[in-house]
Symmetry: C2
DNA sequence: CCTACATCCTCAAGTAACTTTAGGTTCAAG
DNA sequence: CTTGAACCTAAAGTTACTTGAGGATGTAGG
């Protein structure tokens, strides 16, 4: 019953105002009340609903998944076990992404380390590290055999 | 000098043919030769270049960053230290994302665990776990106090 | 040589989840 | 009563592609 305008709702939920309008447009927020001057008015219910939506989005759920979750919360006949299952499914995806990202982190770190070790100041076209990228996986290479090393720069 | 057609190049580099055409369109692949019948022909140089691009993309570099890296490799006056710096910058972003994702994983896992512990079979609207999502951070709650628990389902 | 059929071509539109821009109205303060 | 912040709608832009339509070309078998 706080009767917020869109700016206040935006601040309370950490959402941009256009995003809030967008959520309304795609039917995530249901119908919203209006003031005399056609400006949107939001209630506590709306605050809770948008908070829920934002949290789900932070959790990495897609808009469609959030739509399902919102329906779930609204529907008296639904079971929260369903929500659990959605979350479980999503957890698996997150863990896969996590694994990928870890591998990525190692690769880039290795790339940077290789640059530091064997390619300081070398020229682009002859750089052995850049060359690696055009071939197989970037991997730790022996620092001594490079064409451009600290002791023999290639430019 | 292998004179590949787009399909072969696609297979060799793990790229869809339309994506290759798209890269050409946005200027990532430069100008490509054509056969008599107007079909694209690719050389070993193209294979290397596309491989480089794909690897960079796998590394999570944006198209614009890849464009910079490609220019870097092409430019005889450039230094590979520049590439290192781009990578270093990207590494920081990846690590930030990694941290976020780890927190996310913990949150979702906690959510699922909470569901299992205190909300099995409960109805959506009354589910304390779903309710959590509309409030503060999801956190470990005491399993005994929930309104819908294994021993007292709420539907 | 002719017929399938795979592969290629271009151009246009679709995708997710918003953000940005343009041009105009309304509200709150002084 | 005026000024400036906040609001409104509608449309286009963003990223990195993917998908689809409709037609041309290349190749293998008969």
């Amino acid at each position: 019953m706080s009767n917020l305008k869109i700016g206040a709702l935006a601040r309370q939920t950490g959402t941009n105002a256009p995003t809030i309008r967008y959520y309304e447009e795609i039917g995530l927020l249901g119908s919203v009340g209006r003031q005399a001057g056609n400006q949107r008015v939001y209630s506590d219910t709306d605050v809770r609903r948008l908070t829920f939506i934002r949290r789900c989005r932070e959790f990495g759920f897609s808009i469609d998944q959030v739509r399902a979750l919102v329906a779930l919360v609204q529907d008296p006949a639904s079971s929260c076990v369903h929500a659990r299952d959605l979350a479980q499914e999503h957890l698996i995806a997150v863990r896969a992404k996590l694994t990928e990202l870890k591998a990525l982190e190692r690769s880039i770190a290795a790339f940077v380390a290789n640059c530091d070790a064997s390619c300081a100041g070398g020229a682009g076209p002859d750089c052995v590290i850049l060359e690696d990228l055009t071939k197989g996986r970037t991997q730790t290479r022996n620092t001594s055999g490079g064409r451009c090393s600290k002791t023999s720069a290639c430019s």
